[in-house]
Amino acid sequence: MTAMRRFRLAGAIVAALVWAGGLNAAADVSPEPKNWSEVEAAAQGQTVYWYAWAGERLINDHIAWVGEQVQARYGVTLEHVKISATSEAVSKVVAEKAAGRDDDGAVDLIWINGPNFAAMKENDLLFGPWAEDLPNFALVDVENKPAVLNDFTIPTDGLEAPWNMAQIVFYYDSARVPEPPRTAQALLEWAQANPGRFAFPTPEDFLGATFLKQVLVELAPDQSRLQEEASDFDFDEITAPLWAYLDVLTPNLWRKGQAYPANSSELRRLLGDGEIDIGLAFNPAEASAAIAKDEIPDTVRTLVFEGGTIGNASFIAIPYNAAHKAGAMVVANFLMSPEAQLDKQRPDGFGGFTVLAMDKLSPEDRAAFEAQPRGVATLSPEELGAHLPEPHPSWMTRVGKAWKERYGLR
């Protein structure tokens, strides 16, 4: 047994590993979205790795359905890479760039918005512009849903395509809370009277962070200031009402704020288990779907605050080094199609609201949307009202950090 042989063996192993890693290469040259038939042709046979938050089973089911459809229609295989936070996918692309992997990247498509989009855009980690050249983008309601072009105030610039609308709703068990609070202040008073019966997810989760922003926006002396980047200059002043609010609320939270639910589905489970009476969701149809699955009592209803609640659009983006850009665009275009949007909005499914403009659809498609029933606990578009705009992403990042220092350590 010579040292030489040992060395050669090690070399062979490394070579084998490198070879195995290179198998899924076969990158395509950047396709041109303006020439759509070429994109569709290039997409044929590609496998698209879509890194998408997988914390909600009904959304996962919808993504699986999309996978079947694009396979049958365009010969594109969709792999839903299930992650628990979008930052995992961003982190992956960043690491690849650092390692010099500028083509054949692992991530083809990311479900993204807010600070993650802002960070990727700023660091030139995105492919595009492409989104506004997709055939189905013409159907998107850019006039009445400004959020589809401005992601947390940051212009999308065609670097991401909208596929879902979301808005904060509070849900409550009407059997236990006949007169639910309808403002942030009323919620605080209710929590003081009913300690331990309200919870929001940890602000490390986007829903928890959005609750903080809801209170921030509702209590801020000047809402327009939140549309601009946060700065040291007035951060303390603008956020002072939020901290005053949380100082009172936190000891009255579920578990006195010593533990927080991880995400929306755990929060919902707490209501299902009778641990809390009021929670919140970013999907207005979530409570209805949970009732249908016997997860929460059928007496649960939803509401929005009197001053409105924060809403936004969810997007899909393609990393600059994606291996299968054509396939990714075909999937994105299908996600914006009336058919996919209709399936997404099914009350017994995901329930996510459409990004499309009804008056841009064909009469048949419009009729199909209008005929779609609404879940028992879902508010109508009129009741939901116009949503409050998201603050600039820097507020979310900084408020999250400041929250952690103030309340994240017990």
């Binding site: 042989r5 195995a20 890479v81």
Partner: protein, 561 residues
């Protein structure tokens, strides 16, 4: 031929990745990682690390979990082993504990959470049948800031491990004759066992005990399910930093990974110091000559804690099974109001994919580990080395004692650099590091126990070495080979960190899925994956037991006991 370099390769796989991984975090911990555009040494990562709010708490709770779980598990094992020596109940405990060893940590953690949470099974039984509160009490049990629920889950898992280690050490501790001697000198059963037997057993299980200590200090998956999050334990914090898109946090994470190594090293040093103190005190106690020591109460206490253990295990398994077939189950109903198989049928496509991944990775890693182990042992046999305890036995514990989060982070950095991250080969390799020690430990004793004359006779009849191995000893060792394979598979199935750090989200397994779901999700679906986690290793062990019976049904001399 092949057998000759097997030992070197085995050692390389055991310690190579650990040291490569540690080197992989050491450089970035001091600011050096050209891939991220930094090639100047600096202490910035350390400054950033030590200015993290809550770091002291994170460290303290990690240490508390490590020492707490080790002390409780060890005390339990000593108590039950001392009080139960030679009794019939002892054999029963042994039979009941063995299967628990195969259940992955995550499944145990999830099962425990389903039992002890304020809306868990215990409070449902209390509220539903015994007139307790009709809404779940608002108390912090799961995710408690002291990590007590993590300690409980770890103890449930480590007790069977240490117990089986004690049993394995007994033959070399000469238990029966020692006990006979002690009893003849008037010592009670408990005092006699503690004074005459335990010191010799402990000397042999020191490494497993240290592995338990290091594991508790560094555990990630159980802490993700049951651990505190205001702030989390240090290893969980490291994982969060790794997944953050802010790449500068990777330097901080690397520094924390080095700190984690330091913590484990200090903890081991402290434990060894405690051993010395306990050894000295124990010697005085032994020499004191007291013949009786809690002879009456120790067996009672042993029954009580065993009963408690059994109850917890049964409740956890029951809760998982019930939830996996529940439709509606409102608090405080002690049982579901309606049942359905829909949870299983709806999850079956996803579950099938994950089970396939788990089995592919697990079987590949286990088979490679088995082949390497057998070749190493065969090499030892052919060279006539009959050292008691293999020369590299201590090395087997290197991957089990080194903090996983630390060297796996380094391996992740290396695998991205090599461009092999997320490949099947890289995942299998990472699993192999953890599978190999268990496979080796499991098969080396039976291997060395085979009478060498079988080989001599075979060689004397003129067959080659290889044929002698394949036609005589391997068939004789089939039960041991198969149970080593099953153990290797079970170990691989339970791997969380090695899978997520090396495979990303590309090779999801039932274990990564269970952890993802457990930190927030529908109990009914969590239960499906936890039950699968329990079932797979059970099936593997059952097959390992059944196959030799089937293969040797016409060989009277090869009967399997």
């Amino acid at each position: 031929m092949l057998a000759r370099f097997a030992p070197a390769l085995t050692i390389a796989i055991l310690i190579g990745p650990v040291f490569a991984g540690l080197a992989g975090v050491l450089a970035p911990a001091f600011g050096y990682l050209p891939a991220l555009g930094r090639s100047e040494l600096s202490l910035d990562p350390w400054r950033a690390l030590f200015s993290t709010p809550g770091l002291t708490q994170s460290i303290a709770v990690s240490l508390f979990i490590g020492f707490g779980s080790t002390a409780i598990s060890l005390a339990f094992v000593i108590l039950v082993a001392a009080a139960g020596e030679g009794t019939r109940a002892f054999a029963l405990v042994r039979r009941l504990l063995s299967p628990l060893l195969a259940v992955p940590h995550v499944a145990v953690a999830i099962g425990l959470a389903f039992v002890i949470a304020p809306s868990g099974l215990v409070f449902r039984i209390w509220g539903g049948w015994l007139g307790g509160p009709q809404i779940p009490p608002d108390i912090l049990i799961v995710n408690d800031p002291y990590g007590l629920s993590v300690i409980a889950a770890l103890a449930l898992k480590e007790i069977p491990f240490l117990f089986l280690m004690v049993l394995a050490a007994k033959p070399q501790a000469d238990v029966e004759r020692s006990m006979m001697l002690a009893r003849s000198m008037g010592y009670g059963r408990v005092a006699g066992w503690l004074k005459a037997v335990w010191p010799r057993i402990y000397a042999q299980i020191r490494l497993p005990v240290l592995a338990v200590l290091a594991y508790g200090l560094s555990v990630v998956d159980v802490a993700l399910v049951l651990g505190p999050n205001t702030p989390p334990t240090l290893p969980v914090q490291i994982l969060k930093w790794i997944n953050d898109p802010d790449l500068s946090l990777r330097f901080q994470a690397s520094a924390a990974a080095v700190l984690q190594i330091g913590l484990v090293a200090i903890a081991i040093a402290v434990w060894i110091a405690l051993e010395k103190i306990a050894g000295r005190a124990g010697r005085r106690w032994i020499e004191g000559g007291r013949r009786r020591w809690f002879e009456r109460s120790a067996p009672i206490a042993a029954s009580v804690v065993s009963g408690l253990y059994g109850t917890a295990a049964v409740l956890a398994a029951t809760a998982l099974l019930l939830w996996s077939i529940a439709r509606g189950w409102r608090y405080p109903d002690p049982t579901p109001s309606s049942y359905t198989l829909e949870n299983w049928t709806r999850e079956s496509p996803r579950a099938a994919e994950l089970v396939t991944n788990s089995l592919l990775i697990g079987l590949t890693a286990a088979v490679i580990a088995l082949v390497l182990t057998i070749l190493s042992l065969e090499n030892e046999t052919r060279r006539g080395e009959r050292r008691r305890g293999w020369q590299g036995l201590e090395l087997l514990y290197v991957p089990l004692v080194a903090p996983q989060i630390s060297f796996l982070l380094g391996l992740q950095i290396l695998s991205i650099w090599l461009g092999v991250d997320e490949s099947f080969a890289a995942v299998v390799f990472a699993h192999l590091v953890f599978v190999l020690p268990y496979v080796f430990l499991s098969i080396s004793d039976p291997w060395r126990a085979v009478d060498p004359r079988y080989r001599h006779v075979a060689l004397g009849l003129g067959v080659s070495e290889n044929k002698a191995l394949l036609t005589t000893r391997l068939p004789m060792l089939l039960p041991a080979v198969l149970s080593a394979l099953a153990l290797g598979l079970a170990v691989s199935i339970g791997q969380y960190l090695a899978t997520v750090l090396i495979a990303g989200a590309r090779w999801p397994t039932i274990t990564t899925e269970a952890v993802t779901l457990a930190s927030g999700g529908d109990r009914r679906i969590i239960a499906v994956y936890a039950v699968l986690q329990m079932l797979l290793p059970f099936v593997a062990f059952w097959l390992a037991l059944a196959a030799p019976r089937l293969a040797f049904r016409n060989r009277r001399g090869m009967g399997v006991s």
